[in-house]
Symmetry: C2
Subunit: 318 residues, 2 copies
Amino acid sequence: MKQIGIDLMGSDAGYSIFVDVLPKVIEANPNITFHIYGTQEAMDAFKDQERLVKHVCSEEIDMDDSPLTIRRKKDSSLNRMMIDLGKGELDGVFSAASTAGIILTAHSNVKLKEGIDRSFLIAGLPTKKDHPVYLGDMGANAECTADNLVQFAHEAYRFVKKLGVKNPRVGLLNIGSEEVKGDHMRKEVYQRLKEDNTLNFQGNCESRDLLSGEFDVVIADGFSGNVLLKSLEGSASFFVSLLKETMMSSFTSKLAALLLKKKLYGMKEKINYKNYGGACLLGFEKPIIKTHGSSDETSIRSTVNQLIQLVNSPESVI
Amino acid sequence: MKQIGIDLMGSDAGYSIFVDVLPKVIEANPNITFHIYGTQEAMDAFKDQERLVKHVCSEEIDMDDSPLTIRRKKDSSLNRMMIDLGKGELDGVFSAASTAGIILTAHSNVKLKEGIDRSFLIAGLPTKKDHPVYLGDMGANAECTADNLVQFAHEAYRFVKKLGVKNPRVGLLNIGSEEVKGDHMRKEVYQRLKEDNTLNFQGNCESRDLLSGEFDVVIADGFSGNVLLKSLEGSASFFVSLLKETMMSSFTSKLAALLLKKKLYGMKEKINYKNYGGACLLGFEKPIIKTHGSSDETSIRSTVNQLIQLVNSPESVI
């Protein structure tokens, strides 16, 4: 029986967003015990159910808590869950709390894997093809070494394999496609990944090709990874506003917009990167999955299901 | 009388793209002498005209010439023009040649300004507001120091001021808006720019806010600046393909697309970053302006006009 931890308190919408979703997920996964962490009030919102274990906590992490405050809240749902993960009592955890909260509580309570110096954030983004591309580090480490990037590549490769991709194609985020491009660190990482037979290295990936679908994993230092991720968010928002402006600019275009309403909404949802499911904090023995605080039910369900897929995957460690 | 140099050979379309444009530009600017550099064949395509000086060269730089080849072609139109710029015979130059070609020939022949350690590339991008934002370095330097970034900030501030913006708002590309965000270099640059009264520093700019219109200039190291720029290109292309797919997905949407044809084309052009006019190689006493090799007549005209604006600007140096 696998054990999964769920922090009920991180979402902007509060624990209530789990009330409908969770009982169904529990029912659908008879090989998993679900541990929920939250306040007494949150616990009372859930009927007793088989394979549901309640952990009552007296505190919760707020979205804008400072690192100091996060560290002080020892009895927060998030910290309590990480303590249990660190003890080996859980096989994977989920939270919608702040990235800072998740990183801090994870590092306070859970050991990094042997041979891994840094944890890092990875997430899937929609591509032109029918599969996502996973980008990591997305911003956990503002400064990275060549060793870090090589470790990220291995962790990310294993992670995406566990999500069902057979031999994930790994790319290195760089400012040119040729081997000799980039700074010293990128040149070193390129050579080390190229000589590594244990992963399927495909060479450099320029940011303009991230969404091409030619890669399953793209490795970046946290600075440029974060610049890239937020740039996708920014340009999506720019395009949507430009499209709105175009649609509202004349009678004819308003008419056309009316005809397209549903389709345009679907398109907007596809490029809404903020909504794009879970990110995983890699580098630990067990998966730590987060989703955006503003995630809706659909997004929370899909992220929890991703965690279940990882936990159920044949190899027992990430 | 100001002197402007124009390399006729860099464009993908060859010198012919200048044949209609240039005589009109020359006529419209009676205070400027235009020096054109190109092969004998290119020269023959231009009638003699007042304030037009022809410089016949025996070679030209090709788009995919290696650095070694570029250096060897001493009599290329680009190199000859840079020699004259270095001698002080020109007040500014324009080329549509490769970035590598322009950077190499500039550094071989033209001295950097006193106090400037590196040249860098800057270009304007469309924002949500009715003015562009200038991003630099866009990729000339894969590795940068804090000194470089501070110098970029001053050069870029002066440059945008010359383009007519009164007190350009300067931002620092970073992975968070707060003062304490980013790597060590970014934290140092933040403090130095904040304490500097000679420019209008507005704090950190996250990549998602680049197109917000809240900044006139955003300073980046060449690695993350290039990642950001190419990411805008990539997501624009992704967005256009998504829009096409949406428009072609049913009879109704095809009808709507027909109604919107002209407007959607205009929108596509607005986000076509490849076409987005000139980039400037800053760090020298005189402006060096480049445009994409695939630029059309309109784009070439607007870039040459930008050069004229810079050359005519009250201060005599960039």
